[in-house]
């Protein structure tokens, strides 16, 4: 019989923990660079920014935040309440259909509505044909405005609020509502005095997610000509070539994001207090009839109609009937997008596996912090990450080029900043949280005693991994791959900044065509993105349906 010291397994644990710390440090680099500029910036740049554009940026960004808040709450909370508490025709379908707008990136819905509603679009043409009025003789809503951007963002971001508040409404114990009824509250009073306050932390958590996406949005506001932080960062960086000023704007934007993160964390803690651990009875649905049912149907239909069905239908129509379509070009774009997204997905899952296992083997404070840091990037707008990566990578490249030309007389080119390396790096910072979430949930479900059971039945640690973990983790890994893949496919601002010269993806091409006023030609690429984006939404709605059983 051989005996073995514990050293070899200790060594493995140290190797894992070390890797976790390394991954987290590298992923934290962009934010650290941005933060450094907050203090390193010169007074002139600040005062110049302050006296010229900063007021606009802050004003527009705040207005957008306020408007989108109102929009997503109005669309998300009533629909969540209706589908979780009331019974009316179509409720089951709406339960998942209300998630569909999540598949549409904001910039794509913006192009679609612009094509539909601008002066040359079918709606205004129809008005002119019917009324015989000409240009300027009638009032029509200007879609390319701050208000338009607010509506577009609200239409695709309300599902965050819907999802979280629905979960909260479902979790509320029926008995709490029943108690309030026995204490003399009507159903409506019970909603406002009890259900809504109980769901408030969840609603706020959903709201902060929607607002983070709003702050991160570049495609919509840029297209609509609304100057916000993200467009400002782009303009300063490309138009003025001033990376220091761009980084400082990014740092200010980061401030907003940090506030939102804190708010989100706070409301998550509240959710824990508010959710009850008691055995819950399945709440009995309130049956709506007549006008009430029709009203509920309409309230749930509108977001789905305007957030998904209408823009999706328009895109489909354009793509099939009108778009100028070059198959070879399109295949190249799709190939670029798919390989890039696949590479990012595989990498993100590998890193997430390392982090998650490091935490399982050694739940040291250092490792915990590393996992937390690695998971924070999801809140960061792509522009911030891109600038935070581009600055140090460009510096690194210049050092390398100098050294190499000096020693070997050879110019290696932009190895870091000019290749897909920088882009993959940015995707890791932004999307590692996504794969990490899925993989950690999967791993947490394998109780440590299951590992011990495997060992006591004669498995070595490697065999435990192969015979127990691999089959049990398969679905979590696939989910993580899929979600990162789709997120990367949809991502616009970081891809725009960091892509190698002449490297185009579906999202970038859709953006470029739309910017060139070739909205209809952008339809095939947009449609492809929406179609792929539907995959995780289907997954989500299926897991919701299963959770109900």
């Amino acid at each position: 019989m051989t005996t073995q010291t514990l050293n070899s397994s200790t060594r493995n644990i140290n190797w894992l923990s070390g890797s976790a710390v390394l991954i987290a440090s590298v992923l934290a680099l962009p934010v650290l660079v941005i933060c450094a500029f907050l203090f390193a910036g010169s007074v002139e740049v600040w005062s110049h920014l302050f006296s010229t554009v900063l007021g606009d940026y802050i004003g527009n960004s705040l207005a957008l935040l306020v408007g989108v808040s109102a929009g997503v709450l109005l669309l998300g909370v009533p629909t969540a309440w209706l589908t979780s508490v009331c019974e009316f025709p179509g409720r089951k379908i709406f339960t998942w259909a209300l998630l569909l707008p999540l598949a549409v990136p904001a910039y794509i819905i913006a192009y679609t509505y612009t094509g539909l509603l601008d002066f040359a679009g079918p709606v205004q043409s129809l008005i002119r044909n019917i009324t015989g009025l000409g240009y300027g003789e009638y009032y029509f809503f200007e879609i390319r405005s701050l208000g338009g951007a607010t509506v577009m963002l609200s239409l695709v971001l309300y599902p965050y609020v819907y999802l979280l508040s629905r979960a909260a409404f479902l979790e509320q114990s029926n008995s709490a509502i029943e108690v309030s009824r026995t204490l003399g509250y009507s159903r409506t009073q019970a909603f406002f005095k009890l259900a809504l306050p109980l769901a408030r932390p969840a609603i706020i958590a959903g709201l902060t997610l929607a607002l983070m996406e709003t702050l991160a949005d570049y495609g919509t506001v840029q297209y609509f000509g609304v100057t916000t932080f993200t467009t400002g960062i782009f303009r300063t960086f490309y138009g003025l070539g001033d990376s220091a000023a761009a980084a400082q704007l990014a740092a200010m934007l980061l401030g907003f994001v940090v506030l939102l993160i804190l708010l989100e964390k706070y409301s998550r803690r509240q959710i824990k207090y508010h959710s009850s651990n008691e055995q819950r009875k399945r709440p009995k649905l309130v049956k709506l009839t007549g006008t009430e049912a029709a009203g509920a149907f309409l309230i749930c239909l509108l977001p789905v109609l305007f957030g998904f069905l209408l823009p999706g239908g328009v895109l489909l129509n354009w793509a099939i009937t009108q778009a100028e379509f070059n198959p070879q070009d399109f295949i190249e774009l799709a190939w670029n997008s798919f390989t890039l997204a696949s590479a990012a997905a595989v990498l993100a899952v590998l890193l997430a596996l390392i982090l998650a296992y490091a935490r399982r083997m050694n739940n040291h404070r250092r490792v915990q912090t590393s996992v937390m840091i690695a998971g924070m990037g999801y809140a960061l707008p792509g522009t911030i990450i891109a600038i935070g990566i581009l600055i140090p990578m460009a510096w690194l490249d210049h050092q390398l080029i100098n050294l190499s030309s000096e020693w070997f007389g050879f110019n290696p080119g932009l190895i870091f900043s000019g290749t897909l390396f920088a882009l993959l790096f940015a995707y890791m910072v932004r999307f590692l949280a996504v794969s990490l979430g899925s993989i950690q949930t999967g791993l947490d479900k394998i109780k440590p005693s299951v590992d011990s059971a495997g060992r006591s039945l004669g498995c070595t640690p490697a065999q435990v991994l192969k015979r127990i973990h691999v089959p049990l983790m398969r679905s979590s890994v696939l989910t993580a791959l899929l979600i990162v893949f789709v997120d990367v496919l949809k991502e616009l601002p970081a891809t725009l900044i960091l892509r190698p010269f002449n490297f185009n993806t579906l999202a970038v091409r859709a953006f470029e065509l739309a910017s060139d006023e070739r909205l209809i030609d952008a339809a095939p690429a947009s449609l492809m993105i929406v179609a792929v984006g539907l995959l995780p939404v289907i997954l989500l709605s299926r897991s919701i349906a299963r959770g109900k059983e």
Binding site: M1, T2, T3, Q4, T5, L6, K445, K447, S449, V450, S452, A453, G454, R455, S456, L457, G458, C459, T460, Q463, R467, I468, P471, L472
Partner: protein
């Protein structure tokens, strides 16, 4: 304290084992011997280190001192630890830990895949009928009830015919009624398989109904490792006396080599004790040692009474301030605050020196 087992082959032997988490010692000088074919139980309050001890025997913890050995091999000491998979020690876990992706049959097959498939099949059906679930081979763990899951976990651990089976609070997740039927059932299965087992429990009735030998643990120490009967009748320390069977200790003075004096009169024992007359000692009194008797000259004040159906349980306070409990037939009525006449009926008094070695 050695077991009173007659067999000289020990299936498991711990020699003054120390276990620690970081620099905190959680088990101190633990020694025990488990003869082949016997079922032992480590009994103690939660946090006493019994689960840690069990995990060390399985090979998941490394001792800081002492050794663990099976029939002729040292499997753990402060220098080396044989990995769990090489020990041939089975384990049943508190949270069952069935593999959720495998059927009942495949869970049982997990540890015996080196056998030929016909042998595997034979062992699986043998075990399924042993645990009384022959029709459940193709079910998944989540389709089973708690008690069924626990029996499958037992079968899975038994499949490779381990030298020793460890069970960590195997019944604590089950409701009381199920436990009552499952515990003797598990004992039957273990005895039928002729396997040595060590069970960890915090519940003494569970310990008595499953084990041949019981080790009472508190704060990382094994106070007594002995036959189940003796743990109850001859507790080695005041802790064992009070934890097992909920006894009370009252002051007594040694008056002769057969007797002690208490506030409730003189207690005589049939055998002489080894105590010096005049010494202050503690006398163990269990509920059944006290009876209510109107002829008795001794009284105690009734503090609280609890109706238990067939009898009232009385909480009594002696004049010295010491507490006793006593069962009184339900047809006798006393009110709290009243003085109740009681007498002691003790044949083999359990005595501890007033300042006992721990």
């Amino acid at each position: 304290m050695n077991a009173q087992g007659t067999s000289l082959i020990y299936q498991l032997e711990l020699k003054s084992l120390d276990l620690a988490y970081g620099c905190k010692t959680v088990v101190h000088h633990a020694s025990l011997q488990l003869p082949a074919g016997q079922i032992g139980c480590l009994l103690g309050p939660s946090g006493c280190g019994k689960s840690t001890l069990l995990h060390a025997i399985a090979g998941f913890e490394k001792p800081t001192q002492g050794s663990i050995s099976t029939v002729n091999n040292v499997i753990s000491d402060e220098n080396s630890v044989l990995p769990p998979e090489q020990r041939n020690i089975g384990m049943v876990f508190q949270d069952v830990a069935l593999f959720p992706h495998l059927t009942v049959a495949d869970n049982i097959r997990f540890g015996i895949r080196q056998l030929e498939s016909t042998q595997q099949q034979q062992r699986i059906s043998e075990l399924l009928s042993l645990i009384g679930l022959p029709e459940y081979a193709n079910r998944y763990p989540h389709e089973l009830s708690g008690g069924q899951q626990q029996r499958v976990a037992l079968a899975r651990a038994l499949a490779p015919k381990p030298d020793l089976l460890l069970m960590d609070e195997p019944f604590s997740g089950l409701d009381a009624k199920l436990r009552e039927t499952l515990v003797p059932e598990v004992r039957r299965i273990l005895k039928q398989e002729g396997i040595s087992a060590l069970v960890v429990s915090h519940d003494q009735s569970e310990a008595f109904s499953i084990a041949d030998l019981i080790g009472v643990m508190n704060e990382g120490e094994i106070h007594q490792w002995d036959l189940a009967k003796r743990v109850y009748q001859q507790p080695a320390t005041p802790f064992v006396a009070q934890f097992v069977g909920q006894g009370n200790l009252i002051d007594a003075t040694v008056s002769c080599e057969h007797c002690v004096d208490t506030v409730l009169g003189k207690i005589r024992s049939t055998k002489p004790h080894q105590l010096v007359p005049g010494e202050q000692v503690k006398l163990l009194i269990r509920q059944y040692n006290v009876s209510q008797s109107s002829e008795s000259p001794f009284t105690a004040q009734l503090l609280k009474k609890t109706f238990r159906g067939a009898y009232h349980q009385y909480q009594l306070q002696l004049e010295s301030g010491e507490m006793l409990t006593c069962a009184v037939p339900a047809n006798v009525e006393h009110q709290p605050g009243e003085r109740v006449h009681i007498q002691l009926n003790i044949n083999n008094p359990v005595l501890f020196s007033a300042d006992p070695p721990q």
